[in-house]
Every structure is written in structure tokens, then in C-alpha cells.
């Protein structure tokens, strides 16, 4: 983030983007375009990593999946079906062209195409991520704002201590305890099952999302808190005070909006951690998402499914962090995207 000389409040910082005063920063469209270009390159390497992972495995994936006593004919047929009987470069070419045709191969066990699996299971995972992020933001924003602005002695210290503890809590333990308390003792949440239609699915998703909050809120509110403290030292905030800006405009536009940018960048960085924890949560809450499919496929050694799902997870994280970075640059035009 580069500092722009700020003369007359936050409006000028926003205007600086159009080049009206100060040195001309990158235009937004150029930043977005560059960042998207980089995301596409990374997505390509994600494909390469997902491809190499299976080929680099010690031992033969096919005989491992079919068992040591499988007939050589069956193994050869399976290798042919997987396209493993040609040289690696041709394999990579077939894999890439297959991807663009929307063909990710089929399960070794059930024969169901991987794309078919994704179509049924992906929405569950996406919904879980969406509700988790929304809940995290809804909790973190007022919390960090309150602790930064309410000058209660000792409160920041308590906040830091509690978040330091929160950072170290294992999500699967929190999930088990909450599932037991809410699902079995109070019976306010279903302990398994899922309903794919929109308002009904929230009933199944709120508790796993809450668990994700326990992991994410400490990280996020901490960064937001120190970011608000930094913002309060900026000259445009002083200008706002001197000008006597109305309090709600002051909080939202002068303090919160510039403070949000580092938080959103962090959130996009945390997406990887969160997508990972959804895998565990889907298993504990018996949600039919792709994370659960991944673990099932791993235990069954179903390689095409493993390859397809990790590819989708990788692309998902690349895409989510792209969105995060773009949102951050829209919130604070001083943010530079590389």
C-alpha cells in the first residue's frame, strides 16, 4: 500500500484515483486487469500441480486402487481408461483439452463422471463458504470497531488475549462441542442431513458457519482492530474531526472504509485455511459437499476424483482471492495490486 498525499479529507483520497491531485495512481481497471491476468497464470499452474500430483506418486496408482491381486488385464484396461498408457506430455495435453471440454474423468469405483459429482456437491460447499464469510464479517466488523473506538481501559488487552486463545482452537473440537450442545442438548440445530433449496439450507448451515467463525473472527477482528488504529492516525480522520462530520458518515466513510482494505486482503488470504476447514466440517456435520467426497475418495484411493476435486479447490481459492483483492482495491484506491 502506498501513501498518497492527502490534503482535504477522504474525498480527495478517493478522487486521487482519477488523477485530480497528487501523483497519479494506477487506474482501477488496469489494476483489475493485471490482477486477473496473474490469477489466470496461477490457475494454469494449479492445473499443472493437480496433474503432476498423481503422476509423481510412488508406486502405481491403478494397481493400488484395484488391489495387489488384480488381474493384469484389468489393470491394463483401467490404465487405458485413465489415459495412463501414453507418454506424459500427451497425457498432459489430453488432460488440458479434457478440462476445457468440461471432462474431469470418472470415478474408478462408481464410474460416475467427476463433473457430475461436482454438480451435486459443489453448491453445498459454496454455500457453506458464503455463509461463513458473511457471519464472520457481521461479527468482526462491529466487534473490532467497538474495541478500537470505545476507550475502555484493559479492553484491548482482554481482546488480544481472547483472540490469541481463539487462534489456537482446533475447529473440529469446537465443532464437536457445538454440535453436541446445540444439536443434542438444546436441539436447535439438525445434527445431520441437508436441504438444497435456499432458505431451508440455512437451517443446516448456520452451525458449521458458526464454527468457522470461531476460527476466522479472531484473525480477522485482530487485523481490522489494528487497521482501525492505523486509520485513526491518518490526517483525513483528523480533518473529519475538525470539520465536524456527522458520526455515522464519520464511522463508515472516514474510519471503516479505509480500514477494511487490509482486512479484505487478509480474508482472501484466509480463504485457503477456510476451504480446508470446510472439509473437516462437512464430515462432522455430515454435509454432502465436495470436501467429504474428497476424503471418501482418498480412503478409497479413487485418483481421478481426488485429482478433480483438488483442482476445483485450487481454482476456487485462486478465484476467491482474486475477488478479495479487487474488492480491497475498490474500498481503498491506495491499495496496489501486483
Amino acid at each position: 500500500m502506498t501513501a498518497t498525499p492527502i490534503g482535504s479529507g477522504v474525498e480527495s483520497a478517493v478522487r486521487a484515483q482519477e488523477g485530480e491531485d497528487g501523483p497519479r495512481p494506477q487506474p482501477t481497471w488496469e489494476k483489475v486487469l493485471r490482477r486477473t491476468g496473474r490469477a489466470i497464470i496461477v490457475a494454469f499452474w494449479v492445473m499443472v500441480v493437480a496433474f503432476m500430483l498423481i503422476r509423481l506418486s510412488p508406486g502405481d496408482p491403478v494397481s493400488a486402487a484395484l488391489g495387489a491381486d488384480a488381474a493384469p488385464d484389468t489393470v491394463a484396461a483401467a490404465r487405458k481408461a485413465l489415459g495412463l498408457d501414453v507418454d506424459p506430455l500427451t497425457q498432459f495435453w489430453n488432460y488440458l483439452t479434457g478440462l476445457f471440454r468440461g471432462d474431469l474423468g470418472a470415478s474408478l469405483i462408481s464410474g460416475v463422471p467427476v463433473t457430475e459429482m461436482l454438480r451435486t456437491n459443489m453448491p453445498v460447499t459454496l454455500w457453506l463458504i458464503f455463509t461463513s464469510v458473511t457471519m464472520t464479517l457481521v461479527i468482526s466488523l462491529p466487534l473490532a470497531m467497538f474495541i478500537a473506538m470505545a476507550r475502555i481501559p484493559g479492553l484491548p488487552y482482554l481482546f488480544r488475549t481472547l483472540t490469541a486463545i481463539g487462534l489456537a482452537l482446533p475447529s473440529f473440537l469446537v465443532a464437536l462441542i457445538l454440535l453436541y450442545q446445540f444439536g443434542l442438548i438444546w436441539q436447535v440445530a439438525p445434527i445431520f442431513g441437508y436441504d438444497p433449496t435456499f432458505p431451508a439450507n440455512l437451517q443446516y448451515l448456520w452451525l458449521p458457519s458458526l464454527v468457522n467463525c470461531v476460527v476466522l473472527v479472531p484473525v480477522l477482528s485482530r487485523v481490522l482492530y489494528s487497521s482501525i488504529l492505523d486509520t485513526l492516525e491518518e490526517e483525513f480522520v483528523e480533518t473529519g474531526v475538525v470539520r465536524g462530520v456527522r458520526w455515522n458518515r464519520f464511522y463508515w466513510l472516514y474510519v471503516l472504509r479505509p480500514s477494511l482494505a487490509p482486512t479484505v486482503v487478509l480474508l482472501s488470504y484466509m480463504m485457503g485455511v477456510m476451504v480446508g476447514s470446510t472439509v473437516i466440517l462437512e464430515i462432522i456435520f455430515a454435509l454432502p459437499g465436495i470436501g467429504r467426497e474428497l476424503v471418501t475418495a482418498v480412503t478409497m484411493r479413487d485418483y481421478p476424483v481426488v485429482q478433480g476435486i483438488i483442482l476445483v479447490f485450487g481454482i476456487l481459492v485462486v478465484f476467491l482471492s482474486l475477488i478479495g483483492d479487487i474488492v480491497a482495491s475498490l474500498l481503498d484506491p491506495r491499495v496496489r495490486l501486483t
Binding site: 510412488p58 473440537l173 464511522y251 476447514s277
Partner: protein, 295 residues
């Protein structure tokens, strides 16, 4: 407890007018956190030695009726196979922390070497290709990539360490490379050239220590994540296998009977939190002290 808005200027601290006693107090805060963390960690490590030595019970052998609640004899109760949970929880200390330490040290060394190597090398193609592969690996959630690698290697703690080494080095490499590029521009590196120091001397005495101070700070917070990750993988049945006393595996083991007996799940969980919280306090204390020294 009022939030005063703009206009009443009393909430606004003008930078530089903060009196020194406040700074002195903040230094103390960081120290308290650090000492608490170290105390908790040392206590856990001591219990990890003492409990298995003094306990009259066996770690992997049934000693009494399953699911006895916590009592004077069995402080943490007995698990589904009638084993003493207290003994098993503290037998796992060195396994959990040791595997996590190895799982951090290998990627730490590997990543730092690769990162510095990339920053020092002049080859653009090498930098572009290696940089892209690093970005590609970093794009995957660590847990997902580790799970996929364990699919290839077969479940077990060795596979977990291998999976961590293969995936996590990229994060250190990116950090070390960025840091090394900054350090390379510093005056003191230029000075070593002016003074005619040999290249290895500049590299190992000046570049490496300055880069690794940054990656070490990251490694400490990474250790917490890795401890949780190893327990998480074992919880999924992909890490430590059942008879082994390991916190994640023990939680997974006690989970089907959680309604009947909470103690085989909660106590290993608390031990896991204990390890994480102590490290988290240490990391927090260190960063706060450092910030105090700087400002």
C-alpha cells in the same frame, strides 16, 4: 462505556503525545504474555515426561472397564477400550509437538534455501518458472493438498510429514524470496561488496541471517497451524493410526460415544488447545515486544 463520536475531540490521541509510562506498560504486557506462554509450554513438556514415567498404567493396554468417569484412580476417566485417558493424553505430548516441529523445520529450511537462491540467482526464466510453481502450490489449501498427497502415500504420520514438507515449503520460499530481494537492496549488503567480502561471506553472514529472522517469525505462528493440521488429519483417520496415543486420533476415537462419555474427547482436545494457546501467547508476546522496541 460510551463511544464518543467526531466533534468531541477527547477520544483522539494525537500521535507523539503518548507519555512514556504507557509505552513501558505495553512492554510489560508483551512480556507477561511471553512468560505465560513459556510457562504453559514448559509445564506441558514436563508433564509429557513425568506422567508416562510415574503412571502405574499402560498406554496401549486395557486396564479396567470402558468409559469409567473421571475419578481418584483415573483422573481423566477411561476410554472405550478401558485405557487411562490421563496417561494417554500426556503420552501424546512429544509425539504431537515433535511431529509438528519436524513438519515445520523441513519446509522452513527447504523454503528459505529455495527463496534465497531464487532472489540471488540472475536467471529470469528460473525465477519465472519457480515463482509460478510456488504460486501454484500456495493456491491450494494446505489441508486439501496434504490430504491428496496422503492419498498417494497411504495414511500415517510419516506421510503427514512428507505431505507437509512437499506443500508448505512454497510458503516459506515466497516469504524468503520477497524478504531477500528487500535485504539485497540494503546499504549493509552494498557495504560488504565495497569492503570486498567474498560472496559466500556476504551470503551466509549477512543475507541469510537477515532473511531467516523474518521466516522464523512466520515459522512460530505456522507451528500452531501445523499442530492443528496434524491433529485434524489424524482426526480424519489419515495421520496417526488408532493404538498410537495422538490427540486428533483420540478425539476421533471417542467421537462415536461422545454422548455417553465426554472425557475421551474433551481431555485430548484441551491438551491440544493447551499446546496451541501456549505457542500463541509466545508468538503474541514476541511480536508485541518487538513492536515496542522498534517504536
Amino acid at each position: 462505556m460510551t463511544i464518543t463520536g467526531a466533534g468531541t475531540a477527547d477520544w483522539f490521541d494525537v500521535k507523539g503525545t503518548v507519555p512514556t509510562p504507557k509505552n513501558a506498560k505495553r512492554l510489560k504486557d508483551g512480556t507477561i504474555g511471553l512468560i505465560t506462554g513459556l510457562f504453559l509450554l514448559v509445564a506441558l513438556l514436563v508433564l509429557g515426561i513425568v506422567v508416562p514415567l510415574l503412571s502405574p498404567f499402560e498406554v496401549e493396554i486395557s486396564i479396567d472397564t470402558p468409559f469409567l468417569p473421571p475419578s481418584g484412580t483415573y483422573w481423566f476417566g477411561t476410554d472405550g477400550l478401558g485405557r487411562d485417558v490421563f496417561l494417554r493424553v500426556f503420552s501424546a505430548v512429544y509425539l504431537d509437538l515433535g511431529v509438528a516441529l519436524i513438519g515445520v523445520l523441513i519446509p522452513f529450511c527447504l523454503g528459505t534455501i529455495v527463496g534465497i537462491g531464487l532472489a540471488v540467482s540472475r536467471s529470469k526464466t528460473l525465477n519465472a518458472v519457480a515463482g509460478s510453481i510456488i504460486d501454484g502450490i500456495n493456491a491450494f489449501p494446505l489441508l486439501v493438498l496434504a490430504i491428496a498427497l496422503i492419498a498417494l502415500l497411504g495414511p500415517g504420520l510419516q506421510s503427514v510429514v512428507v505431505a507437509l514438507s512437499v506443500t508448505n515449503w512454497a510458503r516459506y520460499a515466497r516469504l524468503a524470496r520477497t524478504r531477500a530481494l528487500v535485504v539485497k537492496q540494503q546499504g549493509y549488503i552494498e557495504a560488504t561488496q565495497t569492503l570486498g567480502y567474498s560472496k559466500p561471506r556476504t551470503l551466509f553472514k549477512h543475507l541469510v541471517p537477515n532473511v531467516s529472522s523474518e521466516t522464523t517469525a512466520y515459522a512460530l505462528s505456522d507451528l500452531i497451524l501445523v499442530i492443528l493440521l496434524i491433529a485434524g488429519l489424524s482426526f480424519l483417520g489419515l495421520g496417526a493410526q488408532p493404538p498410537t496415543p495422538e490427540w486428533g486420533a483420540m478425539i476421533s476415537d471417542g467421537r462415536p460415544n461422545f454422548q455417553v462419555a465426554w472425557w475421551p474427547v474433551i481431555f485430548p482436545g484441551l491438551a491440544l488447545c493447551w499446546a496451541g494457546v501456549s505457542l500463541s501467547f509466545i508468538a503474541e508476546g514476541l511480536t508485541r515486544r518487538e513492536r515496542d522496541v522498534k517504536s
